[in-house]
Each structure stands twice: as structure tokens, then as C-alpha cells.
């Protein structure tokens, strides 16, 4: 009974606030990370030598840099240079850089898998290269990238917990505070795991539904 009371009175309200912050982190990061991922992928495939190399460097750097380290640099490392970011903004920027680098790789692979003939046919109809990419290549590539993008979204849900390390009290942060305050580590962290599992499960089902909706028949 005591555990249930602890869950209802303490954990759920605290988690709720943390969850809202986690959802805010995801809601801002995911669309920008996706849009940037598309732009980077297009830049790498169609952007010519300079742009392609630049974005290749971008992806190598942000895929290679541990996310926690990136957050530390953004939050603790920039103030001496006159740039002070709030913990939330620093987290968002770090997540977007990481998320877009990975998304760009899924999307680049998907773009390369669209047959050259699709672009050729679009050009033969009088489309500019940009029109051909926008209306013919990307709609097909993004469909193929859905599993990769949704996977990255799931990672985002989980690595959003790193924001706690730079003092953003999101879901994990809220859990850690409760656990320490009430010395109830097992109950709190188990409940936390259940919430993350629920988020990931909902995302997985959502991604499957999106994949089915946009599947090309035949």
C-alpha cells in the first residue's frame, strides 16, 4: 500500500512535470533534426564537392562526438567565449546536432537507393533539378528512410535523459531527485523505465502506422 501511495502521491506528479520537459525537448528537436537531416543529406548527394565535403565533416564530427561531451561543451564550455546558453537551449542544440547528423545518414542512404532513372525521367519532363529532387526523389527516399528515422526518434527519447547532466530537470532528472530525496531508488527507477518503455512503444507503433500509411502499393 505504501508503494502505491508513494507512486500516486510523489512519483506521478514529479514524473508528469519531468515528462513535459522531456516531451518539449523531443518536440523541438525532432522536426528540426529531421529538416536539417534532409538538407544535409541533399547537400551531400547533390551539393557539389565543397558542400558535400562540408556536410561529410559535419556528420563525422557530430556522430563521433559523445553527446554528453557535446552538451558539456555547449553548456559549460561556451560561457568563457561570451555565449551563455540556458540548460534547455544547450540541450536542444546538442540534440539537434546529433539527431540531424544521424538522420542525414539514413536519408542519404535512402536517396542513393532511389534509381537514377527517376531523376532522369523527371528532368526529361522539364523539371528543374530542385523540382525533381523535391517532388520525385525525396518523397520516395523519405518513405524508405522511415525505419531509420523512427529508430533515431527512439534514441532521441532515450538520450534526452542526458539533458539532466546539464541540470535540465526532465524525466530522468525528476526521477533522480525523487529517488535521492526519498531514498527510493528501486521503485523510482523502475517506474522511470516503465515510462520510457511506454514512450518507446508508442513511438514504435506510431512509426509502423506511418510506414503502412505511406507504403507504396505493389
Amino acid at each position: 500500500m505504501e508503494t502505491i501511495a508513494f507512486l500516486v502521491d510523489i512519483i506521478i506528479p514529479a514524473f508528469w512535470n519531468g515528462l513535459l520537459v522531456t516531451l518539449a525537448l523531443i518536440a523541438v528537436t525532432a522536426p528540426i533534426g529531421l529538416a536539417l537531416g534532409i538538407a544535409i543529406a541533399c547537400g551531400r548527394v547533390y551539393g557539389g564537392k565543397f558542400l558535400s565535403r562540408f556536410f561529410q565533416g559535419y556528420t563525422i564530427f557530430f556522430k563521433g562526438c559523445p553527446l554528453l561531451l557535446l552538451l558539456f561543451i555547449l553548456y559549460f564550455g561556451l560561457p568563457p567565449y561570451g555565449i551563455t546558453l540556458s540548460p534547455f537551449v544547450a540541450s536542444i542544440i546538442g540534440f539537434i546536432l546529433c539527431n540531424s547528423a544521424y538522420n542525414s545518414e539514413y536519408i542519404r542512404g535512402a536517396i542513393l537507393s532511389v534509381k537514377e532513372g527517376q531523376l532522369t525521367a523527371a528532368k526529361a519532363l522539364g523539371m528543374t533539378r530542385n523540382q525533381a529532387i523535391r517532388f520525385v526523389v525525396l518523397p520516395q527516399a523519405l518513405r524508405r528512410a522511415i525505419p531509420g528515422i523512427s529508430n533515431e526518434f527512439i534514441y532521441l527519447i532515450k538520450y534526452s535523459s542526458l539533458a539532466y547532466m546539464i541540470t535540465v530537470i526532465e524525466l530522468t532528472g525528476a526521477g533522480k531527485l525523487i529517488a535521492t530525496k526519498y531514498f527510493a531508488y528501486n521503485e523510482t527507477f523502475f517506474a522511470l523505465a516503465v515510462v520510457y518503455l511506454a514512450l518507446v512503444t508508442i513511438t514504435t507503433f506510431g512509426a509502423n502506422a506511418i510506414e503502412r500509411k505511406f507504403a507504396i502499393p505493389g
Binding site: K115, G117, Q118, T120, A121, A122, K123, A124, L125, G126, M127, T128, Q131, F135, V136, P139, Q140, R143, I216, P217, G218
Partner: protein, 250 residues
């Protein structure tokens, strides 16, 4: 014959890929409403020549003129010319994510700026023309090769081109499907569409073409009407080439 009679003029086209010269100076003129078939051994530059006409492949030198306007070196205006030069490919290249009717209407909307309703109407008219109206809502993967090729013909026709290029349109099809595509092309020729066709369908070339251009090693080796090419002993190489097809079909 006056210059203005020619809808398309191709002058001294050269094209190399690396050290291999694929086109070694190809010239010919096309009158409005003519059907010209390009025949010849594989790898002799026929498809490259077609792609040089709408600049999908940029020739190293030479000129292409459509209605007297230069298509080569057109810069950004090339997209305008490509609307006037329809192209049908061996592997159809229908847009996989769009239904048949959407395949036909997308360029009308995005390139020509037509409104959705008019574009749909025009797309359906073109699909009817190739006998594919009943399949309008099907995706390319749900169509047979012959059906897909007919949709791709409708897609090119929808842009109201002055000239249609067919790059081995039946090479990926079995004989039955080949027939349905050739019927559509024959109908187009009869309606007065100007057509340039790269093909190995000798029956089609001999019965529909106004002119046959026999290409070998990157040049037009022999050219003339089917009757002349087949009967005049002067054109030995072309006759021998066509003869090989006949041997197998007998």
C-alpha cells in the same frame, strides 16, 4: 526543301565517354509528322544520340535545333525545351510513389503550373488515348510492363511535345506486351506525331517509319525509306543487319 520545314535539326553531334568516342559526327533533319527509326547493333550510340537531343547527355560538340531554336547551350531554358521533347525510356521510369494518373499530371502541375482540376482532366485524356484510363489509380508496381510503358507514353504526351523520343521502348517487354505498346506508337504516328524511335523491332521500323537511319560505330552508315533500304543493293550493311532478324523470326 526549305529550312523551315524541319522541326528538328541535328548537326554534327560528337560525344565521347572517356577515351571512347560514341558519336562521331551525327547529322540528320526531321520533318514535322515524320517517324524516324534508328536501328543498328547495340553499343553503337543510338540511345546516347537520343539523350543528346534533349540534353540529358550533353554532347561534346554539334548543335540540336528545335523549330529553329538552339537546344544545345540553352542553359536554364533547357527545361522549356524538354517539355517540347517528350521521352519514353526502355525501363519506363514511372515515378514509383505515384499512381498512373498522378504520374501523368505531376509535371503538368509542377512544371506547367496547371491547376489540379485541368491537369487531372488532361491526364485522363492522355491515359484514355493509350487505353489506360481504367488503371488510373494503380501504382507502377501494380502494372504490367506494357501498361507501365503506355502510361509513360501518356506522361510524355501530356506535355504536348513537338517531338517524341522513344529509347528502345519495347526492349524490356515480352512479345505480347511489345505489341500493345507498338500499337499505341503506330496510332501516334498516324495522328501525325513527330517521332524518333530507337528500336530493334524491325517489323515496326519497316512498316511505320518514314525513314530508317542505320547506325554503326557512332555514325549514320546508311539512311533512307524502308523500301529503299531493303531493296536497293547499295545499302548492303543495313539489309544484312535486318536480314539477321528475319532469319530468326522465320
Amino acid at each position: 526543301m526549305s529550312e523551315s520545314e524541319f522541326i528538328l535539326k541535328v548537326e554534327d553531334i560528337h560525344k565521347s565517354f572517356g577515351s571512347s568516342e560514341v558519336l562521331k559526327g551525327v547529322s540528320f533533319n526531321v520533318k514535322k509528322g515524320e517517324t524516324i527509326c534508328f536501328i543498328g547493333p547495340s553499343g553503337t550510340g543510338k540511345s546516347t544520340l537520343l539523350r543528346c537531343i534533349n540534353q540529358l547527355t550533353i554532347p561534346d560538340s554539334g548543335r540540336v535545333l528545335l523549330n529553329g531554336e538552339e537546344v544545345t547551350h540553352a542553359g536554364s531554358k533547357i527545361n522549356h525545351f524538354r517539355q517540347k521533347i517528350g521521352m519514353v525510356f526502355q525501363n519506363f521510369y514511372l515515378f514509383d510513389h505515384l499512381t498512373a494518373v498522378r504520374n501523368v499530371e505531376i509535371a503538368l502541375i509542377k512544371v506547367k503550373g496547371m491547376n489540379a482540376k485541368d491537369a487531372r482532366e488532361k491526364a485522363m485524356t492522355e491515359l484514355r488515348q493509350v487505353g489506360m484510363a481504367d488503371w488510373a489509380d494503380h501504382y507502377p508496381a501494380e502494372l504490367s510492363g506494357g501498361q507501365a510503358q503506355r502510361v509513360s507514353i501518356a506522361r510524355a504526351l501530356a506535355m504536348d511535345p513537338d517531338v517524341m523520343l522513344f529509347d528502345e521502348p519495347t526492349s524490356a517487354l515480352d512479345p505480347e506486351l511489345t505489341r500493345e505498346v507498338l500499337e499505341v506508337m503506330k496510332k501516334l504516328a498516324q495522328q501525325g506525331m513527330t517521332m524518333l524511335v530507337v528500336t530493334h523491332e524491325m517489323g515496326f521500323a519497316c512498316s511505320v517509319a518514314n525513314q530508317i537511319l542505320f547506325m554503326e560505330h557512332g555514325i549514320i552508315k546508311e539512311q533512307g525509306s524502308p523500301q529503299v533500304l531493303l531493296n536497293d543493293p547499295k545499302f548492303e550493311r543495313c539489309k544484312a543487319f535486318i536480314g539477321q532478324f528475319r532469319e530468326y523470326s522465320q
